[in-house]
């Protein structure tokens, strides 16, 4: 497997202009686009800091879905009546819009709509890997993976007797690549996150993919955390498959994407059976449909695809580079406030600085249990997640059972960080 080199510029026509338009974005006004952020909890405005788990949606995404249900809704799959044609067209357009968003060279065939990133990863494990891996073959993962990118491989290990290997992490919460070539020896597949959902670490994915391809392995990217925040180009990443979810990037729940190289997708067996994914069905067998429908059994999430396209359009309107710059600024602000107000009492699990990390801040505050911390924060309207964040092997490696995680997105601002810091101080008083 080599980098195809297709579309090296990586960004489809009509999308590049977003780079410039981000400069003019007034992030202070963005919050007003998100209706939920205007509600109050316990008498305080909501400070939503759980976007790494799931983001909120702007009005335009909600409107796009409502409008679709109100004016155009019908099932897809080639109905001949006008409504069905409209639904088909919007569903196809959504596929192309989402594909362009990640620089897919051939979005019409390579973008598979799934339920979410989890299903996308299970699809690769259940089809490509199940067909191509035999007992003794090696799959290389990392200590930073979300359970979604661990359990499908553990299931395959149980079923097939494949071996799992793990890339560790260093003192500064980055992947330790010192032994990469040795770890890659004999590896058939590498599955790696592009950004840790616990540490915020942006992994050197392209470097890993290049080494993996030299070793003859197929490379899977879990992009659930990075695609919503960083400009993504599958050619530059160098992955063969990319999985991500709409609900973490301003879109609805219930829809995600598996992007794959066409040649690989073509040769893969089908995943789920049902309507839509077949060309012919007989008493004694079936013929699968062509890409991308081959992997989309049953009525797909149609309105969700329409909402997903609206979300992608909104993100492009703001500009991914502007979003990243905004989040870098906020992360630096949070780091400075934390240091100034809490010093060593507040530990952030993740790379120092902002160069190699996104806006995911996993916190340990004195000996206050993360659940207690999150409970106190909730009283101030602050939404953070406390727990193992579906990354138990990583939590074991960090030596903690849970952290309280604050994660930033385009609609957050410095006042949100201030409210968070005030609420942490309150927890300090309560549990002193």
């Amino acid at each position: 497997m080599t980098n195809s080199g297709v579309n090296r510029t990586g960004v489809a026509p009509g999308v590049t202009h977003t780079e410039q338009c981000g400069d003019d974005v007034d992030f202070a006004k963005l919050k007003g686009d998100f209706p939920l952020l205007s509600r109050t909890v316990h008498g305080h405005r909501v400070v939503y800091l759980d976007s790494a788990s799931s983001s909120q949606r702007p009005q335009c995404v909600l409107d796009a879905m409502d409008r679709f249900y109100e004016t155009t809704y019908a099932n897809v799959h080639r109905g001949v009546y006008t409504l069905a044609e409209g639904a088909d067209r919007l569903y196809d357009e959504a596929r192309i819009a989402v594909g362009r968003f990640i620089g897919a060279p051939d979005p019409e065939h390579e973008v598979i709509f799934t339920k979410n990133a989890t299903e996308a990863l299970n699809l690769v494990a259940g089809t490509w890997a199940r067909t191509n891996l035999v007992r003794g073959d090696v799959v290389l993962l990392t200590d930073m993976e979300h359970h979604s990118n661990i359990v499908p491989w553990l299931m395959l290990a149980e079923e097939r007797g494949i071996e799992l290997r793990w890339i560790g992490i260093d003192e500064e919460y980055r992947l330790d690549l010192a032994d990469l070539d040795r770890l890659l020896d004999g590896v058939k597949l590498v599955a790696c996150t592009t950004m840790s959902n616990v540490l915020g670490t942006i992994t050197p994915f392209a470097q890993i993919a290049e080494a993996a391809h030299r070793a003859g392995a197929v490379v899977v990217a879990d992009g659930a955390q990075s695609v919503p925040h960083l400009r993504t180009d599958v050619s530059r990443l160098g992955c063969d498959f990319l999985a991500f979810s709409a609900h973490k990037m301003l879109g609805p729940t219930g829809i995600g994407v598996l992007w794959g190289r066409r040649a690989l997708l073509e040769e893969m067996p089908v995943f789920m059976g049902g309507g839509g994914m077949i060309r012919d069905v007989r008493h004694d067998g079936f013929t699968p449909n062509v890409l991308p429908w081959k992997f989309e059994a049953g009525t797909p999430p149609i309105a969700e695809a329409v909402g997903f396209a609206a979300a992608v359009s909104y993100l492009e309107g703001v500009g991914l580079d502007a979003i990243h710059a905004h989040e870098v600024g906020l992360t630096a602000y949070a780091q400075a406030i934390f240091e100034e107000r809490f010093g060593d009492d507040l530990r952030v699990f993740g790379p120092p600085g902002t160069a190699e990390r996104g806006g995911v801040l996993s916190l340990a505050f004195r000996d206050v249990h993360p659940h207690d911390l999150a409970q106190v924060l909730d009283q101030a309207g602050v939404c953070v997640r406390a727990g193992h964040h579906c990354a138990k092997p990583l939590m074991r490696r960090l030596g903690v059972s849970a952290t309280a995680r604050a994660s930033l997105y385009l609609y957050n601002d410095e006042s949100d960080v201030d409210v968070l810091a005030d609420a942490i101080a309150e927890a300090g008083t309560l549990f002193s």
Binding site: G43, H369, D372, Q375, V376, L430
Partner: protein
């Protein structure tokens, strides 16, 4: 409005900061039993020594949030020296207090509750029982925070399991 003071009563914070009966007991003769809350990683290891039909001694270890740890501490203080049937009664009463349904009736959150005569009687009964709980009643505020109920009941479920196992062990010993 539900405030933090409903959850983090002074007694709870006191038991969290200075837990009673924290530690281990040699097992056997004590029964060692583990409880685990997979959702948040709370963990309790309970050592129960049943002698002559009573909880002669009890210790707990493990880690978790203030609610799970203080509940374990309060529980250990409450059942130490009690007969096994008394301890089982206490478990039942405590778990009834942790029932979301009853809390709603008591709170008047569930508007339909007022038309439900038997529901009111239940609420009355549990209110009477609360008197028998002593310090443990401090944990009743937890029920207004449904996500945290599992934290509060973890050590109690573990105790129930420990008493069951202790009984099995003693039955086996008698039979052989």
């Amino acid at each position: 409005m539900t405030g933090l003071e409903d959850l983090y009563r002074e007694i709870i914070l006191d038991h969290y900061r200075s837990p009673r009966n924290r530690g281990e007991l040699p097992a056997p003769p004590a029964q060692r039993v583990e409880g685990f809350n997979p959702l948040c990683g709370d963990e309790v290891v309970l050592y129960v020594q049943v002698q002559d039909g009573a909880v002669a001694d009890i210790r707990f270890a493990g880690q978790g949030c203030s609610i799970s740890q203080s509940s374990a501490s309060l529980m250990s203080a409450a059942v130490k020296g009690k007969t096994v049937p008394e301890a089982r009664n206490l478990i039942r009463t405590f778990k009834a207090m942790m029932s979301v349904h009853e809390a709603r009736l008591g709170d008047g959150v569930d508007g339909a509750g007022s038309t439900n005569g038997s529901g009111n009687e239940d609420a009355h009964d549990s209110a009477t029982d609360l008197d028998s709980l002593g310090e443990l009643a401090a944990l009743q505020g937890v029920v207004k925070f449904p996500v945290r109920i599992k934290c509060a009941t973890l050590s109690w479920n573990t105790l129930a399991q420990g008493l069951d196992e202790a009984e099995e062990t003693s039955t086996e010993a008698t039979n052989t």
